[in-house]
Symmetry: C2
Subunit: 425 residues, 2 copies
């Protein structure tokens, strides 16, 4: 099924329906494999990917050459480009996912009723996961491995910039998986770059169980706007760090600098710094950022802290810069900080720096974000840092799974009822 | 806010937006109440409802009279009608929900990372829940109590048949809640019967966090088709009971009779009976159903069991009768039963009757339904029977919550990260 291109007369809806039915059938077969068999299949896929280094790098070179010819930006080309070390890293990640604990089959709770019925909830795979992504070819292997480890089938739709790389990686993975007897269609790559196929995936309710978009804001926004299938994603990462009056000055300066400047382009980077008016060392905190070549845009009181701070415009408080730019406001106490965050946060990650535990606990309780931190850099917002081993993404929706999502977020549950002939009175 | 009718110029979208913002603000206040305060408020609401018996029954009499004048069916009028005993039952149910364990604040897991960061997940309310329901006025109190107990605000939109009853019940509940200082807008009733208000609720993504439809299939189908907000619901309850070759004949007959005939109109009633060709007592099972005045529609082999069985049409296998009608097929073994269920089940509740544990465990593992049972009547598909104390509904979707949903299904979680100044390398 994987290798068959779309026939001349097949519409995108028919194509996606055909692939989804094949994926669902493969998922039922995959669900019968035990944890060791799934692990073995993924290790074989990783080995196959290493063995296919020449083919994958040649395919990638075609994509990079086409990207250069089409004027892709340097950042885009960097995301696209593979080399032996990067490919080895991708294969290593598949090996690591293969060794993560299998979430499927875990009993979430059991209750024996007075009539003797035993009710239990057990974790099961969700089913068929659609992954829609852009230029990073590593997503082909990462997402496929996470879905497979958790017993889900994956339907992958990568960006056209990486089409040859994705096909080569997918072919290598499938060769490895099927060598162990795993079902071929458990990981499928949509064989067309027709954009209408993405629309068909987004509306395939009942055929695709969940969509995970991986890419820039415009991709995620389109997926969230058009999808009739549940979406696991975050749109913005407008993360705040609030330096409380009782913050330790050294921790405050170190956390603020790290939260913004360690990597400015990731979703967990701080975009707004809130300085308590009673915090005595605000000047040192902003000086540290300015000295590291971060542009600061402040409200009137923040601008008074350092002549290098530019005045902020109204939309700065709702802007995800993903760059060495930071908005800075001075706030009057915890309640004002909570109000600012309630109004402007994207519910991704927000942090307080304080030595006062009561204030910190109030912040943790009252901020309504997927991740709320005390005395730590927002750059820790990452499944690996949370001990999940990997992540399929970070979710800012309120249902099913929030924050960094890995294997457990790719499962659901069913109720099992064991009786001995009970009828209901 | 509750008492204010829609102003002349306010569109349904503006009305729902106004109510939703008020509900969200109330939910933030509600989230600060501890378990005992929420319990106290609900007990006060139950007492207030009992004290308002005269007003509620008078309002209900108006609705019943209007329903009779408008030619409502006897079944609809019965769902609508309240009397002192039924009203006492509604108040008792509120008291019971008040005493259920509060799910909010439970720590779902904690992990201390090598760098000293402590990651934990804690249960929190979802936010604002929209309930869209039909003629049963008890839903006004039941759904409001479940939402409130779990820290959620509720936006209720009842059917026009019950408009006076719903307003009287809502007013009594609010009087009780607010007497204890609980936020008034935690439970709001949409003040118009304009159907466009339902559409506005269904598309209020970002303002309403989840919609729960309570009512007949056409209501649920409309909600599922039009909603941009996540929906917790089931559309069909096409429940199967498979009598395996190794079933105990007495258990098989008793379970089949109970699963169909105890109450034929509920979603957990059996709609299709699968008899294994090797089960020796099929004639007794179908005779028991026929003798209880159940109409049986069978495939050719089922019809051969008893002359009173009518031939089934193709669509009988996909029909939820909600009546004393049952489709019956004879199948060749467990695999054939699993294949029939995979094709025709609505993923609500399916059961096997067998004394062979290995076959039963295969059935439990392989049937992809929210509830899978062994040696028990499908009529047990009910939150109360599962020990949940109550239920807001039964969900057949795959994400967030499945099967009977009560307080826990009305919660989500957030990640709390506690550090001591960690920055990310």
């Amino acid at each position: 099924m994987n290798a068959e291109p779309r026939t001349q007369t097949e519409s995108p809806d028919v194509l996606i329906s055909r692939l989804a039915h094949a994926g669902r059938a493969a998922q039922r077969a995959l669900a019968l494999l035990d944890s060791a068999a799934k692990s073995r299949a993924l290790h074989a896929a990783a080995a196959s990917l290493r063995a296919a280094e020449a083919e994958v790098l040649a395919a990638n070179a075609r994509d990079v050459a086409a990207g250069q010819a089409n004027g892709l930006s340097g950042a885009m080309l960097d995301r696209l480009r593979l080399d032996p070390a990067r490919l080895a890293g991708i294969a290593d990640a598949v090996d690591q996912v293969a060794d993560l604990p299998d979430p499927v089959g875990a009993v979430l709770g059991t209750d024996t009723r007075p009539n003797g019925l035993v009710m239990s909830r057990v974790r099961i795979p969700i089913g068929l996961i659609g992954i829609i992504y852009e230029s990073r070819p590593n997503v082909t292997a990462d997402a496929a491995a996470l879905c497979f480890r958790s017993g889900n089938a994956a339907l992958l739709r990568g960006g056209s910039e990486a089409v040859h790389s994705n096909r080569a990686i997918h072919a290598a993975l499938i060769a490895g998986l099927t060598s162990t007897g795993a079902p071929t269609d458990a990981i499928q790559l949509v064989p067309t770059q027709d954009r209408a196929a993405v629309g068909a995936m987004l509306t395939a309710a009942g055929l695709i169980d969940m969509i995970v978009p991986r890419g820039g804001k415009s991709l995620v926004a389109r997926v969230q706007a058009d999808a009739r299938v549940p979406v696991l994603a975050h749109l913005d990462g407008i993360c705040h760090t609030y330096i409380h009056a009782a913050a330790d000055p050294a921790k405050a300066a170190a956390i603020a600098l790290n939260a913004k400047m360690r990597r400015t382009g990731i979703c967990g980077s701080m975009e707004t710094l809130l300085l308590d008016a009673q915090f005595p060392a605000s000047q040192a905190v902003v000086a540290g950022l300015l000295d590291a070549c971060c542009e600061l845009r402040g409200d009137a009181r923040a601008c008074a802290l350092d002549a290098r701070i530019l005045p902020a415009a109204a939309n700065d408080w709702d802007t995800e810069y993903l760059d060495a730019i930071l908005s800075v406001a001075v706030v009057d106490g915890l309640d004002a900080a909570l109000a600012h965050i309630a109004r402007h946060s994207s519910h991704h990650t927000d942090a307080i720096v304080s030595e006062d535990v009561a204030s910190a606990e109030r912040f943790l309780a009252e901020v309504d974000s997927a991740i709320v931190m005390h005395n730590a850099s927002t750059q820790f917002a990452d499944g690996g840092e949370f001990g999940l081993g990997a992540e399929i993404g970070i979710a800012t929706g309120r249902l099913h799974a929030r924050g960094p999502v890995a294997l457990e977020g790719l499962t659901t549950y069913k109720w099992l009822v064991r009786g001995d002939g009970q009828t209901r009175p």
